[in-house]
Point group: C2
Chain length 335, copies 2
Amino acid sequence: MGGIKEIAKMTGVSLATVSRVFNNSALVSPKTREKVLKAAKDIDYRPNVMAAALRSGKSKIIGVIVPEVNNSFFSDIINGIEGVVSDSGFNIIISQTHEKQERENAALNSLLELNVDGILMSISKETKDYTQIQKIIDSKTPIVFFDRRPTLDAINAVLLNNYLGAYIATEHLIDMDCENILHIAGNPDVSIFEERKKGFVAAAQKHRVQYLVNHLPNIKSNPEEDLNSLKDILKKHPNIDGIFAYGDEMAIHLLNLLNTLKIEVPKQVKLIGFGNANFSALTQPSLSSIDQESSLMGELSANLLLQNLKRKTKPTAKVLSPKLIRRESTKNLDQ
Amino acid sequence: MGGIKEIAKMTGVSLATVSRVFNNSALVSPKTREKVLKAAKDIDYRPNVMAAALRSGKSKIIGVIVPEVNNSFFSDIINGIEGVVSDSGFNIIISQTHEKQERENAALNSLLELNVDGILMSISKETKDYTQIQKIIDSKTPIVFFDRRPTLDAINAVLLNNYLGAYIATEHLIDMDCENILHIAGNPDVSIFEERKKGFVAAAQKHRVQYLVNHLPNIKSNPEEDLNSLKDILKKHPNIDGIFAYGDEMAIHLLNLLNTLKIEVPKQVKLIGFGNANFSALTQPSLSSIDQESSLMGELSANLLLQNLKRKTKPTAKVLSPKLIRRESTKNLDQ
DNA sequence: AATAAAAATGTAAACGTTTACATTTTTATT
DNA sequence: AATAAAAATGTAAACGTTTACATTTTTATT
């Protein structure tokens, strides 16, 4: 037998009352509560979450969809989510999209079959078709986006002000006396990278410095090629004295490329990344960057979702302000 | 209404038959199968996994317990697990222990309440009491350990040969002409770190070189202090020419400390880490290390678990062989 | 065409909870 | 002490599937 039924039989009390005890209903006398709890301990009772979920319609599971789990940024976010969500007695199911729309849709579908109470997700770089997502928004399943959102109205989201982050990074280079700055930009299909580019351009124009935007798309597949492109750029624009890279990993590659070219950082060129990855403090020189408070972003998203689970609130988008992290790669040795 | 019942009504077929269609039972004629599938599509039917789980006792969920998700090694493992497990139609629930036994037990309990089909876990550094784990092993829930195992007999595990990894790393230093080597060891309560230490000692003794073992426990809380200890060690043993650190993060810190002390790597001292973290190729000089094939470890663990789900197999422990990754930090400039 | 075997389908109970509603017991009020 | 109100408990159905067993239909065999 096992389960609530056995406890009911043991204590001579009804199923309903036993259930009430485990759901902390106020409507049960201390005496019977104690009796039930004792019996539960005796048989090492473990409630069956699935059964409760089926009957109540609440699974106490939250689905999390990220592009990749083994990525410093997203794993920090998952850490933040896990913290608040598990404190509230929820479990998290994690799916990866590997930046593929097809996998994303499959993951969403799978989460719905599991009757998750809510969904936290960051859309893949590839995602253009929002019909599946729109269907979820239209349904009752609460969903909160973090970092990357679909371009749809009336959604819950926790985002980073990427424009501002890039603006701050660029201003920092200018503060450090850079007068001719280069931006290595990310995939223009991804909106957060486009915003960073815009922030860069805006700050450069505001302060009337020379600027340039470029891509180095082959850094992983063919670093040799990028080394040559970079060499060309620097040859064409020999007075470049500051570089803002769209991400920290790219920045570290740049650091190594510059080293290979015998260009000293920060003496000849100052360099700043974006993301404040875990390794950025460890390089030589250490890398200045823009912190995006990934763990906090996870926490806030989770809180927004939990709030939505209690009562359907108006869709809200929270925008976090990135912070400048000054390290050696942008140090002004003359100041 | 919704669900299987509605489809049954629409198609004029019984509940059982509809169920058979979705479970790919061979015992259903192509004609009715088609009819049912059509109806399912028409009402956008989504099976309720919870209900199926309750009735069948199979949740199609696998629990994963790791010390921290935002850790390069464990997130790689999760990536590996997710790949094989989701290909087989399972979902994963992830819990963090933050290296606390208490949280570990809570996570295990929570997974049992969810009726997970199996568990994949790496025990926390703190865990000494295995009663909860033993209870699970005794029950029917299959469990596989990865990387860190409890010292219990007859368990399923996928492990790294840490002794061998350390042995290889040490031999590599000796190959590169180091004659006086230092090991910066990890927390002696953690068995994998102890094995690394033993491997180091064994290789050093085998090749009859001078060696030394030390801890630098404050590197995160108080790097100044460790800088001084390191200075002391090197002063006392001025002919140290090779260092094997128990982990890559520690190794990178050492790299920076050595740089501060104006000791050139690899010219004066050669340095090798352990783990081949994602950032180890990015440092200057790049860090030699021991690769532990984290993603593969995840895949193998998941496969072992899936195998156990099909039919209870004899407990097996698979031991992976680590690989040497040669980079600049151990380059012999004379060779 | 009759019969046996195989394939397809159906019936109904069960998985372990929650919960609306009903009933009983206790407490407060006069 | 009688009555009303509040607190505690109980009854029974339901959540949406799966599955053992029974029955019907189809196919193969003579």
